[in-house]
Symmetry: C2
Subunit: 202 residues, 2 copies
Amino acid sequence: MTKQEKPENNLSTEEKFKAAARVVFTKKGYAATKTRDIAEEAGLNLALLNYYFRSKENLFEIVMQEKILLLFSLISPIVNDDSTSLEQKIDGISVRYIDMLLQNPDLPLFVLSEIKNNPERFGKNFQVDNIIMRSHFVKQIAERNKTINPVQLILSFIGMLVFPFIAKPVLQGSGVVTEEIFSQLMDERKQLTARWMKMMLD
Amino acid sequence: MTKQEKPENNLSTEEKFKAAARVVFTKKGYAATKTRDIAEEAGLNLALLNYYFRSKENLFEIVMQEKILLLFSLISPIVNDDSTSLEQKIDGISVRYIDMLLQNPDLPLFVLSEIKNNPERFGKNFQVDNIIMRSHFVKQIAERNKTINPVQLILSFIGMLVFPFIAKPVLQGSGVVTEEIFSQLMDERKQLTARWMKMMLD
DNA sequence: GTCTATAGAGGGATAGAC
DNA sequence: GTCTATCCCTCTATAGAC
């Protein structure tokens, strides 16, 4: 992927900017990203960026909203589904979340680090408390195991699912895994995390 | 903590800069950090920063080296100790790593995100492969469970230990935990991660 | 070693022609 | 809507007095 001659897709100018912004912001982070980088990645004129989005910050917010939605839109319906068993939820989350992360490997590290570096930007944007901690899923966990704080179990579950993707740059950089080995590992990991999570409940 | 009147400690000028750099770099990340921020945090003149460290990048490298050392110096002797059992290693790592992270809560997110945003800076800096993956600890795991890839177990173990600290900004920002609740959870978590990790081995 | 002043480059944003 | 040219502020780094 060199810089010249991006494939001429049929996206609107605005969408091309958003696509480019996703790539560059995710790769370098907000502060290190130059609007010129985005324009170049999009193959478009720099002035157009401000014409469409008014500011770098504005464009970033749009991208970030999408990313956060991606993080939660998948998990929210599953954990709040009253009709499924605890085991079904665990299986469903494991498979679908890892699949989503395989499509968006740097999503978690990007979102978490941007929030850490600039917490003010995200005032109450996060409904972790409402969406996850008060979910049907957590209620089922609390019923099943009355001695362990459900937060501990949730942290372990999400940690097992997400951490490999957070550590991915280091794993690859230090030669522990290649791209395809990593994908294989994550694929077999779906079963493992589900199995381990169920074990932890007892 | 306002900006004026930092406590007049007895550190040398150089050490004051390093201390300030640790704070600011960790809080905002490399790209968003201005040398003026560091000088202000240190209560020192901006020109002195370049006198002592030549450049922002140089100072950052020094801080980063320290952080990486902190991440590995604790775990390395434990995982490479031939004289302890697998269970002893699990217990030791759980307790000591969480204690270290309680002292340095934003260490993992800082290091991992800086590496992701600028992988070129870290050419082979990371001996994850040598220090961890070829350790006595991993050999013991492989012996104990011959069906599961040890990488999977290591990822889960480290993930369970580290993820809560990576998610900490979000957990606090969304009101799931306060600072002291978080500390309590992490304290009781030492036992939990050890117990869970042992369960996973079978 | 420590300061003030400033060089010099970079980068976000806009004016104004087309 | 799209372009070129450019404004102007910010930031790193250094020159040079003390």
